[in-house]
Point group: C2
Chain length 232, copies 2
Amino acid sequence: MNLLLEAVPEAERRRLAPFLESVTLDMKHVMVEAGEPIRHVYFPSGSVASSVYTMRDGSTVETAITGREGIVGVHVWLRQSVAVTRTFIQVPGECMRMRSDVFLSEVVDAKSPLNDLIAEYVSAYLSLTAITSACNRIHRIEERLCRWLKMVHNRVDGDEFPVRHEFLAYMLGVHRPSVSIAAAILRRAGLIRYEYGHLTVLDAKGLEAGACECYSAMELEFERRFGRQLRK
Amino acid sequence: MNLLLEAVPEAERRRLAPFLESVTLDMKHVMVEAGEPIRHVYFPSGSVASSVYTMRDGSTVETAITGREGIVGVHVWLRQSVAVTRTFIQVPGECMRMRSDVFLSEVVDAKSPLNDLIAEYVSAYLSLTAITSACNRIHRIEERLCRWLKMVHNRVDGDEFPVRHEFLAYMLGVHRPSVSIAAAILRRAGLIRYEYGHLTVLDAKGLEAGACECYSAMELEFERRFGRQLRK
DNA sequence: GTGCCTCTGTACGATAGCCTACAGACTATC
DNA sequence: GATAGTCTGTAGGCTATCGTACAGAGGCAC
């Protein structure tokens, strides 16, 4: 279940239930398109979403990742109708979603307890984006790949999830062969198994050890706000 | 004058005046220290501030820049007592400042018209950080240097401001000699004059032309929200 | 004005990642 | 189970930037 919704008192959760719709979203499903009106906010449970910024030449870089610890559509909470980043499904799975206008009236304006949790999340999301900014500049592909894989691992059920090298290259903002080289190193080190778009984490501790310091810094931003372990 | 304060209706500005204090801050003055309580929010007028993330080994990268178009201390508005980034004065000058607790009671909780403006700015700040994240990853030093210099130019009075290569290196997250090389190219192209920590913009249009697409994307985030030209 | 310190410009070998290309491995489809 | 299409691994030359080093120029303190 989504950690934000889970933290809402039972009574309030019942009140909000009619406004929430359960949807199962496929890989690459676009939840928020850059520059276009945001129709819904999403609360992922087992699914993971990525926010990416796209340059005019089509090159993309991930600026944030959102799983069960957060909400997709922080811009709606900030009363913005559009965002500069596109947010889409990276690991398919279930989400609860709510229409943006309903979210504003029933959660934000109604001062739902959920609203306070989301305020916390928005600031965590901002921190995450700032740390990503520095990490993208400074750290090497291999370290960033370890960080990314472990962060996704922390957000899915089990140790397996679908992902292709080309997709990783979009996320990390690098070329696809560079990802293949880095992934081969992790595979040889016994950290992961990789079979045609399907990744299995074999050594979670090893991945953490191979990740840059940003991994802990990012996960800590959620853990200290919500008092919950995200790392597994 | 700070553009946010300027946009507040006259009567409200008079009401807030007693809570605002004018301060002149020196270069490198730390307004918000990473991980430490935020005492004040600041409204720069001619001064410019940088938010940077610092890695454990001391390497730093700028994640956002704030001048007269914004406020330093968006985290206070998000009801956070700390931030992961440090924000400090990059170009000295005047700022209005307000105590964080007073800001929360008199602006945020009081639903001041200023509060709505700041909400807009917070989302612009988030967009700025996201674009910076991608820019840091993808674009070359020379393009990013042009962008950075022009953004500062847009935020100061006149065409001159103090800055040293080492400082630029911290901002861009690169090594100092790399900055010297890039700066020498701009100097030879007649875009800037540079004399011992003192920079003059000679060809503003040329700088814009040399900057990556992120320059327009970033400034547009403010201009479309506030309906005001920031680029000069 | 002298001496010290800081800042800038440049050099150069090292390296990470780019870019392109291609072959082999796997998958889906019929 | 044949075929076409997709995905992965690798290669190799290229470029941007790193990392280190050092000399000269400008500013500051005495």
